[in-house]
Point group: C2
Amino acid sequence: MKLFIPGPVDVAEDVLQKMATPMISHRGKDVTKLQKSISEKLQKVFFTQNTILLSTSSGSGLMEAAVRCCTSKGAAVFSVGAFGDRWGKMAKSNGVPVDVFKVEPGIPTLPENVDKVLATGKYDLVTVTHNETSTGVMNPVREIGDVIKKYPDVIYCVDTVSSMGGIKIGVDECGIDICVTSTQKCLGLPPGLSICSISEKAVERAKTIKNRGLYFDLVELYTFVKEKDFQYPSTPSLPHMFALDYQLTKILEIEGLENRFKRHEQLAIRVREWADTYFKVLAKEGYQSLTVTTIENTRGIDVGTLVKSLEADGFLIGNGYGDLKDKTFRIAHMAERTIDEIDDLLTRINKKLGFKL
Amino acid sequence: MKLFIPGPVDVAEDVLQKMATPMISHRGKDVTKLQKSISEKLQKVFFTQNTILLSTSSGSGLMEAAVRCCTSKGAAVFSVGAFGDRWGKMAKSNGVPVDVFKVEPGIPTLPENVDKVLATGKYDLVTVTHNETSTGVMNPVREIGDVIKKYPDVIYCVDTVSSMGGIKIGVDECGIDICVTSTQKCLGLPPGLSICSISEKAVERAKTIKNRGLYFDLVELYTFVKEKDFQYPSTPSLPHMFALDYQLTKILEIEGLENRFKRHEQLAIRVREWADTYFKVLAKEGYQSLTVTTIENTRGIDVGTLVKSLEADGFLIGNGYGDLKDKTFRIAHMAERTIDEIDDLLTRINKKLGFKL
């Protein structure tokens, strides 16, 4: 089965094999060396000098950690879809004061709206979804960052779960305090490990917050990296660490970051052109994702039937997410996917739907 | 390197290979089938009819979930060492009212003490460490369970992280409401996934608790199993699920549970006899662990030198944990270890320390 769903993605065979590396102690020098190596490589992928934290959890784990550990006055959650809403739910379920600012499907988070909300002085933490997997909207995290710089007490958190490693996100340039991602999307690994970069400002904020919990306490994770020589408070998923370290070398030294970004852009353009020809891209122009395209079902096709028929051929695409089920469908183009594979998929869809090439 | 540390353990090569299984969607029928199969097998290992929950995290994740989600009046944490203390820390860091009842290293949690504490009426949740990895103490969870049955509003939580799968723990017989374990100990898998069984009573309690968080919300995990056909709220570590399903079949159908328990007992007896001959087992007689032996350094040997010298030979044993460093050392005998491997290790230690056989 070839996966064109927005995660989990197909993992290269040699990377999968690293998941089968024999175990080591999680307290020895080898694990310090491993986590340090991963951190240094991730700093390059994130374009940051900030500290890298790993967590054995899905991306949701560190997203929840960010909003729980670093909100004092209140969190302003800017949502452009299901995964933005999720950040609101995380805040509420932890008793964190939060307001969710939501737009219609396909519409991005605009810097001027963030400015207006922050001007109220009610919030000291902002969450933004860089790349919303449900709607295929990509938000202008740099321009939003420029606005946030005017508010020095605000912690800027960005969900880059479905974009980091496929799209250039200059974490330091954008002024992102906590940038969260996970392994099973553009980084091209199996699910099971999440990653964030954290600024000193966010760590200082977290130190002032009570009841941060333990497993997702960002101060605890940070302290183990800084004071215990790149270790992890509990036993981490060593298989993911072995595979991540290996895959990061492949990304940085074999494909090269710039080439990887370019490939993701080319894949996106190809799918977008096809979608514009036969359907309509849901996301507003200028804010269309480079890793997943959500296609409006303007022809009223039976999406379920299309998905099943492709699945029978060994190609898995995504139905619409949540409320957008059947009204949209989704093609992900991330991690190791190639133009040939995308062309093969689109040709098959054309045939099934009776489109002429 | 052969690991004789109390986790991570060495993983059989065929099990490791399952970690390299190609990815599937985390929302399809295949993943439902996989999680259902794992659950049914784990119910046999746990000797329970309760619901099995999986969490992509270390065992600490679900331990924290239990004390956070299910304490209303107060938690009574019975600690016999570092991992018992950890449960106290988890409660405190979540603002959960808690008292920690701690004994000296080597001493167990006695049912009569639990009875005395519960008789105060101050607590509606109890945590007990079945097998304390720092001191090598194994607590009488069944006898403690008999006491707890007298207090119908108390939720009984047991940490079986370093024992489940190696020692018979009849979860239902003992009346354990939440029984937590993780993959990297007696189950013989890599770290990265934790598991618990949960009773209906614990689920009902959790529903009454505010601010349970999201990632470790036991109600959310339970609802996805019960109402969404054995699925997981976020993207789980699929590699661990593939490997766990496979390994559980090996445990149940190839070795057989009873044989596995017997092997663990034989390994423990061998190490204990050796320890009693040349040193002293830290844990009180009658409460000595069947999976890890903590040995009192009665001869004042240089533990660090012994550990390093064995490591150079490719054998990793554990130094004492925390305060017990250098005062004790630890030999784990769990997962796939054999009598021959233990004999080989002990012979080497004898040679290094100049003991006669």
